[in-house]
């Protein structure tokens, strides 16, 4: 197990360097960020030159990248154009997005798995057909439609929630945005669980468990569900990173000042330091989440062992 983890950690290094280099190149291809800083009029050449020097934009790209990576190891993510440290921006943005992601993941686990088990056990019955149709609708409607619709109905028409989330973004405020963010993945989790449960229902070990006279809930939870969860766990694990990075739409609709907001502003203002910094952290989140998923396999199925 220990060797396996070490090998996985070592594999992360090239992935990390490659992905940051790619994003670094992509942001720089977009042109000169200083040009947009002065608004509709051109920056005067002296100030523009000095700003470039200050942000290190006058150096060749490879050198900028090398300096950036060098600074990264000392925890220095650089400075955004508005004079704030990127680490400071991360300090305010990541906790908010992490809370949003937790809410979304909880929805996926609680609602998605429950519905999946219910429909998987009652395949072909009206409940199953109903939920399947429901998930089809959820998958086919884009997130921004669901988001705007819920915002309008719950926030303006019925007044149950505030249409926008305050700067503190507490868990209570994030329930509706979390549900919106989770909606599509939730439908997939339901379908994955359903298929898996339906398949394993006829497996020998389930029949044995029933024949042993175990109570029904114990058969379902301890035997059937545990073995059926492997594909679901894989999906949810990979989804953590996707949710954090993909929250741009949801965060914009509900005015949540998280990672999506900072990335959006960073791209719009072509702020290399912000964009590269946030994407770097997101890459790390993806890698760690994937590692955790692989380790969780061993928990769910003791037959899977890593040498």
């Amino acid at each position: 197990m220990g060797r396996y983890v070490t090998r996985r950690l070592l594999q992360m290094i090239p992935v990390f360097i490659g992905s940051t280099l790619l994003i670094f190149l992509m942001v720089n291809v977009m042109g000169d960020p200083i040009a947009g800083l002065c608004g509709e009029r051109a920056c005067d050449p002296a100030t523009a030159a000095q700003l470039k020097r200050e942000f290190g934009l006058d150096k060749p790209l490879w050198q900028q990248y090398a300096t950036y990576m060098g600074n990264l190891f000392t925890g220095d993510f650089g400075t955004a154009f508005n004079g704030q440290k990127v680490t400071e921006l991360m300090g305010t943005a990541f906790p908010v997005t992490i809370r949003l992601t937790i809410v979304a993941i909880l929805f996926e686990i609680v609602i998605g798995v429950t519905l999946g088990v219910l429909t998987g056990l009652r395949r072909g019955r009206p409940v199953d057909t109903g939920v399947l149709l429901g998930t089809l609708v959820v998958i086919s409607v884009p997130t921004f439609v669901t988001g705007l619709l819920l915002q309008l109905l719950l926030g303006v028409q019925w007044g149950w929630i505030r249409p926008s989330v305050s700067a503190y973004a507490t868990f209570g405020e994030l329930i509706v945005p979390g549900l919106v963010l989770a909606s599509v993945s939730l439908a997939y989790v339901t379908r994955l669980t359903r298929t898996s449960i339906a398949e394993n229902k006829r497996a020998d070990y389930v029949r044995t468990a029933i024949a042993k006279g175990l109570p029904r809930h114990r058969v379902v939870v301890r035997h059937l569900l545990r073995n059926s969860l492997i594909p679901v766990v894989t999906f949810i694990g990979a989804d953590i990173g996707a949710l954090m990075g993909g929250a741009i739409v949801t965060e914009r609709i509900f005015n949540i000042h998280g990672v999506g907001f900072q990335l959006y502003q960073g791209i719009l203002r072509q702020n290399t330091q912000t964009v590269v910094g946030f994407v770097t952290v997101l890459v790390l989140v993806f890698l760690v989440a994937n590692l955790l998923v692989d380790l969780l396999y061993a928990v769910l199925d003791p037959r899977i062992r890593y040498a």
């Binding site: 100030t47 700067a167 928990v299």
Partner: protein
């Protein structure tokens, strides 16, 4: 049982994560007499000489008062902290600062507060994006050279002559110089700005009717009324909370739900419902913003006598009335000159100056374009940035209008550029081959500001590199003229030169828009399309 212990461990990690992130709580919004208003994250650190966009400018307008202030209704520059600004030759000005003004930290506003602030703003070392505002002051070329290191720290044209008097010597005659001093870049700064700059940026201190109570960058700023404000325009509410919105649609929805009191930019998609949604609590008033199509005169194909005819024809091929009514729902007004109605007739605005060249006349348009030899390169591309401001819709509409007039669906196409930064970058590197979107928001309500920065040879915003000796000469004469009325008449003559050459095609004047809840009254927008916050009454 190993499985169970591991599962439990995993559960603990998740629970710990929940606890760790569950910090914070409670609402930071307002209180009695405090209004909440939508805001955008300022692009630059909040310093007077470094703020060049509306969102940061909004705050400066609340926490600073300068020598002059522009009347929120008429736009006229009035003495505010200035007791008098005198000149004999339009080149040397003597400024007397009124007694009794202080910063909100108690420090007196003196002549030095201005001179130090202006020297700071002009100095190349401080990277201030509005430094060129000090470009008229003598010694600017030493403090802020175009290239190479600066050779002086202070402007030689500024001299403190007494505790509350100083003189300004300009490097050229500029009679309307005093009227420019209402711009935020000329605001006075307290000592703490220079002694502890980082702390000042975290919580700026000024001398306006509001003081900053707390500021969380990127999300909110709480401003409260400064009780001891000595000026004649104190706040009529207890305070203003500015909340950052990424999307003005969300801000608008919040106003509908009663969670936000004021949104100062109604999204274009909501314009058709706004009158009924807000029951008349909607403002749509002219602002000092003009949108034009600019041309690349560095491309020789656009700099010929024939091309002049083509430009005039192009102007006549655009159905401004229809576009402003259908796309902008009358939040724009078809332009008939190169300034803005907010100047007023006395300030130099001249309705109809453009004449027939700005009227929609497809037959004449086609004739002129053909006479001029058709579009250079055979096809017209209009370049714009696609990321903000919904420019795509109107560029497509303009092209449609042109194509209809010419009876050719391929004559004109839009050329979107992904980001504003890249758009500015391409303009700066003179890469345009056809007309491109240009928007001009005035810095101060003067006809000079609509002409000189845009069309004077080598001027800061003359992106198309247009150059005309007669225009330059008229502007120089107007700037040297001490009598305001005669100066304005000369500027209008210069504007005539712009018209005769169709240096840029005026499209429409832009309005400012705002919507508010029933809690508020006396809401108005000033000519810069910023709400006049201190006049708003709550409850």
């Amino acid at each position: 049982m190993r499985g169970i212990t591991r599962a439990r461990w995993a559960a603990c990690v998740i629970a710990a994560g929940l606890l760790a992130t569950a910090c914070g709580g409670g609402r930071g919004v307002g209180g009695a007499g405090v209004l909440t208003s939508s805001w955008g994250d300022p692009q630059n650190p909040l310093e007077p000489a470094n703020t060049n966009e509306v969102q940061g400018g909004k705050v400066l307008d609340m926490i600073f008062r300068g020598l002059k202030k522009y009347d929120p209704k008429t736009g006229k520059a009035q003495n505010w902290l200035a007791a008098s600004i005198d000149t004999k030759d339009s080149q040397t000005f003597t400024v007397k600062v009124k007694d009794g003004w202080t910063f909100s930290n108690g420090e007196k506003v003196t002549a030095r507060s201005f001179v130090d602030a202006w020297n700071y703003g002009a100095s190349l070392r401080n990277n201030q994006k509005n430094a060129y505002f000090f470009g008229y002051i003598e010694g600017y070329d030493k403090v802020h050279p175009d290239s190479g290191p600066q050779t002086a720290d202070t402007l030689s044209g500024l001299k403190v002559t007494g505790p509350r008097t100083f003189t300004v010597r300009l490097n050229q005659k500029f009679s309307s110089f005093p009227a420019t001093l209402g711009y935020a870049a000329f605001a006075p700064l307290p000592r703490s700005f220079f002694t502890d700059h980082a702390a000042w940026l975290k919580k700026p201190v000024g001398n306006g009717p509001y003081l900053i109570d707390s500021y969380t960058r990127g999300s909110a700023m709480n401003l409260k009324k400064w009780g001891a404000y000595p000026g004649p325009d104190p706040a009529r509410n207890a305070g203003v909370t500015l909340l950052v919105y990424t999307d003005n649609n969300t801000a608008y929805t919040d106003v509908l739900a009663g969670n936000l009191d004021l949104v100062d930019d109604v999204p274009s998609t909501q314009l058709k419902n706004v009158a009924t949604d807000l029951n008349g609590r909607y403002i749509n008033t002219p602002a000092g913003i003009l949108q034009t199509l600019a041309f690349p005169y560095y491309d020789p194909k656009w700099n010929t006598a024939g091309a002049r005819k083509v430009r005039t024809g192009l102007s006549m091929a655009i159905n401004r009335k229809q576009i402003t009514e259908t796309i902008f729902r009358s939040t724009r007004t078809p332009a008939t000159d190169w300034t803005s109605p907010v100047l007023g007739a006395a300030g130099g605005y001249q309705a109809g100056l453009c004449g027939h060249a700005c009227d929609y006349d497809p037959a004449q348009a086609k004739k002129l374009i053909q006479e001029g030899g058709g579009f250079p390169g055979g096809r017209l591309t209009i370049t714009y940035n696609a990321d903000t401001g919904s420019h795509k819709q109107w560029v497509d509409a303009v092209c449609n209008s042109v194509n209809n007039a010419l009876g050719n669906d391929k004559a004109c196409v839009g050329n979107p550029v992904g980001t504003f930064a890249d758009f500015r970058n391409q303009i700066g590197r003179h890469k345009m081959t056809g007309p491109f979107r240009a928007g001009w928001q005035m810095d101060y309500p003067l006809i000079q500001d609509f002409l000189q920065p845009l069309y004077y040879t080598g001027a800061s915003s003359n992106d198309g590199r247009w150059s005309n000796k007669r225009f330059d000469h008229l502007v120089d004469r107007a700037n040297a003229e001490t009598d305001t009325a005669r100066a304005i008449a000369l500027f209008q003559q210069a504007e005539g030169v712009v018209r005769d050459n169709m240096a840029a095609i005026p499209l429409w004047y832009q309005n400012g828009s705002a919507g508010y809840t029933a809690r508020l009254s006396h809401v108005a927008l000033n000519p810069f399309s910023v709400p006049v916050y201190n006049e708003i009454k709550v409850g």
